[in-house]
Structures are given as C-alpha cells and as structure tokens.
Amino acid sequence: MRQFLTVVVFTLLTIGFFAGYSNFGIPQIEPAPPPKEEKLDLGSMTMDGFIALGERLFNGKGTCTLCHNALGRAPELATVGEVAAGRLKDPRYEGEAGTVEEYLTESLIDPSAFVVIGFGKKGTNDTESPMPNVASGGIGMSVAEVAAVVAYLQDSSGAEVTVEIPQDIGAQEDDGEEDESEPREAIGDPKELMALFTCDACHMIGGEGGEVGPDLTQIGASRDRDYLRRAILDPNADIAEGFEEDMMPEDMGEAMYVAELEILLDYLAGLK
C-alpha cells in the first residue's frame, strides 16, 4: 500500500510539474480569436457602415468612377437622388421601377432602361447605354453589394436613404476577396475582351461606341503594334490630336493578362 501511494504521489507530482511549467514557466500568449466572417458583419452592420461599404464599392470594385467623373464620360451622380424621381415620369423611360430606389437598382443592372440624352452608344440615338451590367462580367457585384451602392448614391446625393440592409445573409458572397484570390480565366476572343474592359464606352469601332477616345475602326492602318502597346499600357505617352489627356485608365496593363494584351494587339493591328 505504501508503494502504491508513493507511485500515485510521484505521478501526481510529475504531472503537476509539467502543468505548472506550462502555466507559469512560459509566457501565456492569448491567441487571436477566430476572425469574424464578412457575411456575419452584414447582419450586424449599421446603415452608416452599409453606406460606407457602398462608397468603397463605388470607388473600388465597381469601377464606377472610371466614367462617372468630372470628365463627363457619363452623367454626374451628385444629384441623382433628386433627378431620378423626374426620370420615372419621363416619357422615354421604359423600365419597371416605381420608386427612386428601384430605379437606381435598375440602372445598375439594366443601364439601357433609361439613357440620359447625349450619353447613349453612338448610333443608337440614346436608346442603348454603354454602361455594363454591374452584376455580371468583370465587375460581378452581388445583390447586397448593389444595394450598398444604391444606398451610397442616395446618401451622397442628399436624398432619403430608403434601402434596407439585406438580411438574407446568403445573398452576399463576400466583399471582393474572392476575385483576387481566384483569378478569372483568360479570355481568347478580342471582342469579348473589349466588352469586358468596356472599351466601347469611349472608343468607336465600326460605328458603335463612344467618342471620348479615338475611333479604332481602322486603327491598324495608321498605327503599329508598338504604338498600340504603348497606348494601352501608358495611355498618356502619346495623345492623338483632338483628344484630352488622362481620359484613359492607366491600369489596363495590370487588369489584363499578358496573353490577352497580345490578342488585343493582334486584333487592333488587324483593323485596317
């Protein structure tokens, strides 16, 4: 019995020493708590936070400021909250929206429902908008993100914010993390590429497109590949006569893959 007790005491002492050393012999570092998932944030988000998210999307992922800026490629949105109410009554309006909020949402995913005069695609007599559907393609906003942008637009134009934060959490995939971690697949068709990067918003090809940048219909006849490459990667290096500086985004080179750039150059150089 004595032996038995000694063994028990010895065992307890040993375990006690190990536990004591782990508790007091080494520093206790509190590991970071599990990161909160983005989707959970939406549920507890305040309206201010939601509007801020919209602003981030408007300036970032949405690429809206590419055209909606002081240079006048697209209508200014500073007063869109007030203007929108009038649009609904405009006889040219073809959409189905009944409220300002619905109108703004519609204008993001179906831009051609109402085209402000002077901002339509060339040759469509302002019936078709050069703006892409933000929920699809390269931008790919989720329903919740579109709602956030609408909330931001209402807020920034001084209108009453009527948007409600979507509580259906599943609708929001994430806030853009996925785009970067999972690169899109390379595109082989130059026309699709032009559509993805919305080149036709500014450039005209075959009579379709904007007039902000030079007409590309026969660009291959007057410019070689090297010039075109420079024009895409560093747009302000040479400015064609009659056009302004700083109109074309400078990050085209980063946005497209090298292979895509070559495909695009082949295509453009072949336009004679």
Binding site: I29, E30, P31, A32, P33, E180
Partner: protein
C-alpha cells in the same frame, strides 16, 4: 582529502551557476536571462542528481550527511540551527518574491508572429502565402539591373530606415537607444534569414500597428510604411536588406 559527495554536488551546482553568470555577464558581455538560468539550473540539478545516485554507494554517501543531520543525536545543535534557518530562508524568499517592486511587469513579444494568410496592403488584398518579390528573379536573369535595384533599395533604406535600424543594419541606429522594443538586427541569423520576403513585405508595409493580436503588446514604433513608400520601393529595400547582410530569404525552392 576526499571531498564528501554532498559537498561535491553542491560545489558542482554552485560552480555551474556562477560559471554561467561569469561567462555570460562578464566575459561575453551578454547577460543570461534569469528566467532561462532558472530552467537551466533545474536541469543541471537533475543531471547532477542522476550522476550521483545511479549506484547504491553513491546514493548512500550523498544522503548520509542529510540522514545524520536528521537522525544522529550528536548533531542536535546543528539540527536545531538548520531547522530554524530553513523556514526562515523560505519565508524570506517568499517575502522578496511577493514584495511589490518598481520593475515594470514582464512583457513578451512574439518576434515572429504567424502572418495572416492574406493582408490588405496598398488597398489591395494580397495573398501572403504566394506573394513573391517581383525583382528577385532578376538576380539570375539580369544581374546588372538587379545591382541597380539593390542600389536604389539602399538609397531608400538610408533615407528612411537607418535612423533606427542602423547603417550597418545591426539594429543600432542613432535613435535605437530610445526605442523599446529595440529595432531589429538584420545581421542576426535569427531574423530575416529565417523569413520569406513576403513576410518582410507585410511587416514593412503595415508596421507596428499591423502586428496581429498575439504579438501584443504592439508597442513597436515601426511606421506603417505603405503610407510613405511606394510598393516597388519596399521590394527594392528588401533586396538591399538581404544583399547587404549576405543572408538569403527563406524559400522552399531549390537553388
């Protein structure tokens, strides 16, 4: 005369203890941390105990004086003295331990906290696991241009970093003495030589405030360099750090 075993053991332990202190604190001028010394001595004691007790005679000789002290009637005076001193010494030790001191509490910083898998740098979300120095490949492909980039990195370093990290990259710049924690010594084999370039990029770009919670207290005064430097400047500086110290970044590829 043969020294009794118990005394031998005590002498060995005392010798090792003061040996550590003399070698580290006096000869090498690099204090041995007391927390470490305590653990060192614990295991040295265990080792000494093992050597002195693996056979019966040794054990008997070792414990004989202790046994005698407790049991031998002729040692009564000594016994009484020891039995008074031991509790007193224990009490004194406890008192000293518990006494409030002016010493600031121990703070431990994890010097290499685990990086997050992604981090937001320059407004972009970057994947730190896959991030690579865009200029590193030039080391092989275009040594001349690589040298130029290192030079440019050196210029950035001299302009921004050397005030704290030192012109020898040894963490001993003009301002280093005023900082706690002190600036990192890049010459040390335990710092950048153990890390990947993406890790350095993350630490430089997000600075002290970018440290994760487990590295608390993040009293580090390292600035958030993404607010002051361009992305390629940071990468060039990293090239310079490795080039000057002669270390190479940790990588899992082969040469």
């Amino acid at each position: 005369m043969r020294i009794p075993k118990l005394l031998q053991a005590v002498l060995v332990l005392a010798g090792v203890y003061f040996g550590f202190i003399v070698v580290f604190d006096v000869i090498l001028d690099a204090v041995i941390p007391s927390s470490l010394l305590v653990m060192y001595m614990f295991f040295v004691t265990a080792g000494v105990f093992m050597v002195f007790t693996y056979d019966e005679e040794g054990t008997r000789e070792l414990v004989a004086p202790i046994k005698a002290l407790v049991e031998d009637p002729s040692k009564r005076v000594w016994r009484n003295i020891v039995f008074v001193i031991v509790p007193l010494a224990a009490g004194a030790g406890t008192y000293v331990q518990m006494q409030p001191s002016f010493e600031a509490p121990l703070e431990l910083r994890t010097i290499h906290p685990a990086p997050p898998s992604t981090a937001k740098i320059y407004g972009k979300r970057v994947n730190l696991l896959k991030l690579e120095n865009p200029f590193r490949k030039l080391e092989k492909e275009d040594p001349e241009q690589f040298r130029e980039l290192v030079e440019e990195g050196a210029a950035v370093y001299i302009e921004n970093c050397q005030y704290c990290h030192g012109d020898k990259l040894d963490g001993n710049g003009p301002y280093a003495a005023g900082l706690n924690p002190t600036p990192l010594n890049f010459q040390d084999v335990g710092t950048i030589a153990q890390l990947q370039e993406s890790y350095l990029f993350w630490r430089i770009a997000t600075g002290g405030p970018g440290l994760p919670k487990e590295a608390a207290p993040w009293i580090s005064s390292m600035p958030v360099w993404q607010n002051f430097l361009k992305e390629d400047e940071i990468w060039k500086t990293i090239l310079f750090l490795y080039d000057y110290t002669g270390h190479s970044p940790r990588s899992w590829g082969h040469e």
